[in-house]
Subunit: 368 residues, 2 copies
Amino acid sequence: MDQRVLEHAETLVDWSGRIEDGDDVVVSVGEGAHDLGVAVAKKIGERGANMHVTYASEEMDRAYQRAHDGRFDVDPEFELALYERADSALSLRGTRNTATTVDIPEETQQAFGQAREQIREARLATDWVSTVHPTRALAQQAGMSYEAYTDFVYNAILRDWESLAEEMGQLKEILDGGSEVRILKDGDATDLTLSIENRTAVNSAASVAYDSHNLPSGEVFTAPADTAGQVVFDIPMTIRGTRVENARLVFKDGVVVDWEADAGEDVLTTIIETDGGSNRLGELGIGMNRGIDRITDQILFDEKMGGTVHLALGRAYEACLPEGESGTQSAVHVDLITDMREDGTRLLVDGDPIQRDGVFRWEDGFEE
Amino acid sequence: MDQRVLEHAETLVDWSGRIEDGDDVVVSVGEGAHDLGVAVAKKIGERGANMHVTYASEEMDRAYQRAHDGRFDVDPEFELALYERADSALSLRGTRNTATTVDIPEETQQAFGQAREQIREARLATDWVSTVHPTRALAQQAGMSYEAYTDFVYNAILRDWESLAEEMGQLKEILDGGSEVRILKDGDATDLTLSIENRTAVNSAASVAYDSHNLPSGEVFTAPADTAGQVVFDIPMTIRGTRVENARLVFKDGVVVDWEADAGEDVLTTIIETDGGSNRLGELGIGMNRGIDRITDQILFDEKMGGTVHLALGRAYEACLPEGESGTQSAVHVDLITDMREDGTRLLVDGDPIQRDGVFRWEDGFEE
């Protein structure tokens, strides 16, 4: 077994999941994640925790949901009881075919999801962590060879998380104390101002100890308000099966008032017009994972890339909001990414440059 | 997908498991049983039942148990809660390597098993069924090509179970009304007498409706007493990793008084000397599955083969015993098989031949 699989398992179980003696751990293994499953089982055994292994088979889900009449029982008690009593839930994703579930009717998927809300809540109430094992299907989606993709994934996952958490702590401190973020790029093509007054940033350090539930992670995010100006998202991505390129949004008083895109404008329109919150921002995220050195069209990786900033249309995360304030409410949360590594690009907090040309203030090469 | 996989799934879900709308079903998928898992998911979806899928990975079990210090928590509550609330548990076995768990220390396996007694009991209290999906590893163990082994497995599983259940019902009736079974073979090399007075035979028709929990099945079994005489088990088999050939047992007053074997005599001795019940018979089983036409050294198939009889040293099944009687009690239950298809072989109940040369009284070719 690749030594990195064991290191991945150790990072997941110890740094991310904080699994301890006697913990009741549900491990969910994707169809292509068997090897990581074996390594994780070893680490859970070493920690003296208890393990229940579920098989997250997309092909079984597809067969089941397509065959069902769609009137799903609400939160079947046997499964709810499992998650309600679990301390942790580790999800080892790793598909063998990213298109497996495309022919489950949309309304069936929605009905299935709605019927399992309590089970989902019970799972989210545990110390849950979601990670990904490199597969050929994911390499294909990224347009990479399996070997190169595997290197890419482990480079993103096998970080010195303790020191990255410290570095991200600096940025969190700046954002927590700041009132306004400004993003400048490409002359005035991007000039966006966001209020972060009274908002709390999350140091997303890939550990339940930081209330961060994805491995890899490596971003600091907050919930902005009163957005004004314009922004171009030059990192191309696939949203709902459609390629979106160079989306340009114009904001006034916190609301999107104009938009266009070189590709995928229709899906952008659909998203913005979803509901009363989908034309506002719910998230400002700043990528800080320098292990991610390329775009792979997998949002879990792309949005964490050091030297990028992402903004999400729709729902805000509660952890960023002051007590009693609701922030942006919406059924959607769609991330769009902009590359900050171009000449003349600036990220300012209350007028002070925090990042120049993708380089943070505390990094080498920041000086002008 | 091989059409037979779907037929297998349908037999399992409908005939064996009797899965109905709203049932809570735990489906356990072995490492090599994915395809059967997909077919079973489809059938469970069609029936409108609820499904929780576990991954029965021997490699994960091995990694976990070997890494653990061996002081396992007793019946972890989260998993116990799942099985206590389940209606059915379908186990889809199908290993990719029959030797995966050979290097888990024996005491670790025992400690793990002992720590999960209540979970095991909760699972056995559901409508559970265990079946097997053909894999290359199982074909290899049987000394067969994968294609031939696959044909063999489906031939055993895809029976007309309703009509086989009826046929087996006839034999059950004979045994339930009888007092004494006699097995004669090979001159007097085998001449064994067993009392079945007051015992109830089980019609093992591969369905929870018959209290029969394996697919394939196809045997009628009861709990004998007062065994006397001698018997040769000429079907070779692997017991605890050791090849056993031509085991010969001599019984007096229900107890084994002498034994030998052409191969594996040591393991035979170990079994017989285990405890106070391991030198007595716990089961007389009569194979009636004519779809099984060869010995594959897999007890699930071998003991069901039409034209064979098996006797088990050790524990008797409760279902065969009259109220208040305990039958043979033992930590072991080890089946040994004899071929009844040789010239001059007889199976008699109260002196009447039920089977001659492997042919039952109600089958063509029984007349002398």
